[in-house]
């Protein structure tokens, strides 16, 4: 990627992360649509021999063979039996029955996580710079499980099965399914087995935001990553005939618009379809749009398809307006015609001009790439939100990372829009989604694994969470673009990832397999469900009191039955154990409460002193909560600090 490394501080701290030895021993497995091996992001110049721990392979198939792998791309496999069993044999004229990426998504995510340094990268000049993965020295192993028709769980399980045998160190999965319980969810099941083998599993949180309870991949043994913006934008202004200018974003590159104002029409008024405003296939009346700029609304069909529909109907350009669900979020696209995307507010203003002026006119002014945009990061509107619909007592997402307008490697088989009509071919593309933020964390986890090979997956995730930031340098809280207000732990989890601090977090909240089994007991899983998920005959100890409140997670989600608490205040106790991974130190606790009354929080002991490495100390948090209306949420933050290290945890308190 370009810009993410600077935005995350990796450029200034390169010397802090190991660059030789262990750094190039870490292997990131990516379950996705495969890879385009010719991408410059998989150049292996300067990399030593393939790690001796590697047991994987480079499979042969359509347009792919062992010679396509190298010391960067050390493994490439594909899994299609489940896909073919359901949808029939792969049509090899349409997709490669091999690890080759015909879609672009897999090359993008793999190169984001661990791509080599590529000078002079850009998309048509946009987002130009030196592209590099988060872990430039790590190795990549691609496991193709996603096909044109989808990603099938029997193939996903087979890929994770193989990745474990191959000895990957990190698994990156930018995919999700429904919200079935953990023992029925193949990603959760496979991730549990991987975690047991010391593999950190990083997954996308989902793009179903800003609705609440919209998360995917919420198992506690998975690192769940939401999406935030970078400090980079691609401004393209809408200049109206009434002299008003409204900013939008665009990645359009090509013949510009004529240097004059052009006739402007709202798609809803140039169509016979009831949803003609959406610019869906065959809904625009050519006579009404030919030679004009067309305003379309987001929704239902793909943004880039709207542009293609306008172009096919003879439109000269498009202004694409956000609706309420995307608010002011601006995702840029490499449209096939001059087009720009505007937020909901500006979209409404432009529409009122359209209806008020008898001869509305407009043009679009493209300004290229702009950096230093503030405030940034903001939580992307599409980023899925908590609470955790499967286990509300487990706060998710875990963190956010860059996921909006991310440039990274692309397939040579498809254009930047992914449309069949797009005959352009690019080495890098700019796309958005929690699919993009997940591999950022996968690569950062690989960096931490290289620096601390002895850390468990839980310790790595803890380091990333307790050092994440929740406010800008000016002290203002992170914003949620969907509301224009401060985001909450249900939006950003522990906050935005901060890898330089994560390298030395001071203390970590560690978790063992037994802790995760205790979590399942606290959920009252049956022996059969635990056997399905954890492949062992395990009976929860009837004499033990398993409690979600004592599950050693680096965050807190306190749930109160509003009806019960109406009779007065309730007292809830939560215990945690911190492990010292830094120098000796005495840590003092502080609590910041960001919203409302109704909660008193105290911590015992208020001081923890560590003298040894890996020394463990426990503490108890007592929440005294008074009655509040149902569906009230309150948030706070608990921090341990010795003056140098800050170990932060978000607290979400919900009255249900």
């Amino acid at each position: 990627t370009t810009r993410s490394p600077e935005f995350l501080g990796l450029d200034k701290s390169a010397n802090l992360f190991p660059t030789s030895g262990s750094a190039s021993e870490v292997i990131v497995g990516v379950l996705d649509t495969g890879v385009w091996p010719e991408s410059k992001s998989f150049d292996d110049t300067g990399l030593g021999p393939v790690p001796s721990s590697w047991k994987g392979a480079c499979e042969t198939g359509t347009n792919f063979n062992a010679s396509n792998c190298n010391r960067k791309l050390i493994g490439a496999r594909y899994f299609a039996r489940g896909y073919e069993a359901t949808l029939g044999p792969i049509d090899e004229s349409k997709e490669s029955k091999s690890p080759r990426d015909d879609d672009g998504h897999g090359t993008h995510t793999a190169s984001t996580a661990a791509g080599s340094v590529v000078e002079g990268a850009s998309l048509f000049g946009y987002a130009a710079g030196t592209a590099r993965g988060m872990a430039t020295r790590a190795r990549v192993a691609a496991y193709k499980v996603c096909w044109v028709g989808g990603c099938f769980s029997s193939d996903i399980l087979a890929a994770i099965e193989q990745a474990i045998d191959d000895n990957v160190n990190v698994l990156s999965m930018s995919l999700g399914g429904g919200t079935s319980d953990y023992y029925k969810d193949s990603v959760a099941i496979g991730a549990f087995a991987a975690m047991e083998k010391g593999i950190l599993v990083s997954c996308s949180a989902g793009n179903a935001g800003p609705s609440s309870y919209s998360l995917s991949n919420v198992a506690p043994w998975i690192t769940t990553v939401g999406a935030g913006t970078l400090d980079r934008d691609f401004p393209a202004f809408v200049s109206l005939g009434n002299g008003q200018n409204y900013s939008g974003v665009s990645l359009y590159k090509g013949d510009g618009l004529p240097g004059k104002l052009l006739p402007f029409v709202y798609a809803g008024n140039a169509s016979n379809a009831t949803n003609g405003n959406l610019c869906m296939m065959d809904t625009l009346i050519p006579e009404k749009v030919a030679g004009k700029i067309v305003m379309c609304d987001r929704g239902v069909n793909a943004r880039v398809q709207k542009g293609a529909v306008v172009k096919a109907a003879g439109g000269l350009g498009m202004v694409l307006a956000n609706t309420e669900s995307n608010g002011e979020e601006l995702v840029a696209d490499a449209h096939l015609l001059p087009a720009t995307a505007v937020g909901q507010k500006f979209g409404d203003a432009i529409k009122s001009y359209l209806v008020s002026d008898p001869k509305p006119t407009v043009t679009i002014l493209f300004e290229g790439t702009k950096v230093g945009v503030e405030p940034s990061p903001v939580v992307a509107a599409f980023s899925s939100r908590g609470p955790n619909s499967i286990t509300p007592e487990l706060l998710k997402p875990d963190m956010i990372a860059p996921g909006v307008n991310i440039l990274a490697g692309w397939s040579g088989a498809v254009g930047p829009t992914g449309l069949a009509t797009d005959s352009r071919r690019v080495g890098f593309n700019i796309i958005s989604g929690t699919s993009m933020s997940c591999p950022h964390v996968s690569g950062l986890a690989a960096l931490l694994k290289a620096a601390h090979p002895e850390w468990s997956p839980a310790a790595i995730r803890s380091a990333l969470m307790t050092t994440a930031y929740v406010s800008y340098k000016n002290g203002q809280k992170l914003q949620d673009i969907a509301t224009g207000k401060a985001s909450t732990p249900f939006d950003h989890g522990a906050g935005h990832v901060n890898p330089v601090s994560a390298l030395n977090p001071g203390l970590v909240y560690d978790l063992t397999v037994d802790d995760y089994l205790g979590f399942l007991c606290a959920l009252n899983y049956t022996a059969s469900q635990i056997n399905s998920l954890a492949r062992r005959k395990f009976t929860c100890d009837a004499s033990k009191r398993y409690s979600l409140a004592d599950f050693n997670y680096p965050s807190f989600a306190v749930n109160i039955d509003a009806a019960q608490s109406s009779s007065g205040s309730s007292v809830l106790k939560y215990s945690r154990t911190l492990t010292n991974v830094g120098p000796p130190g005495t840590y003092k606790v502080s609590i910041t409460s960001s919203t409302g009354p109704g909660v008193k929080i105290s911590v015992e002991p208020a001081t923890l002193s560590f003298t040894q490495a890996n020394e463990k100390k426990s503490y108890t948090v007592t929440f005294t909560v008074s009655s509040m209306p149902s569906n009230t949420n309150s948030f706070a933050r608990l921090e341990w600090s010795d003056g140098k290290y800050i170990v932060g945890s978000p607290i979400a308190i919900s009255w249900n």
Partner: protein, 85 residues
């Protein structure tokens, strides 16, 4: 499979490996035998041992329901389709 009972769909079969009968030398033989007890034609798509103890296969709904009753079967879960984010 829900609409057409003869329609085959893919299922993930979770087995309680520790309950493998002594008569079998290897758990894959036990899996094969369990599958053949409900369907002559069904083939194993994948056998798993790291992520789960079990296998995936294509069954009719009726076959899936009768397999679920067999000894050592923990669950017979319909395959799920996942989407890229």
């Amino acid at each position: 499979a829900a609409q057409n009972p003869d329609q085959r769909a893919t299922y993930i079969i979770h087995m309680a490996k520790s309950e493998m009968p002594a008569s079998f030398e290897h758990h894959t033989h036990w899996y094969e035998s369990s599958l053949k007890s409900v369907s002559d034609s069904a083939e194993i798509l994948y056998t798993y041992d790291n992520v789960i103890h079990g296998f995936s296969t294509q069954l009719t709904r009726e076959e899936a329901e009768s397999l679920e009753q067999r000894p050592g079967i923990l669950s017979v879960l319909p395959e799920l389709k996942y989407e890229l984010h």
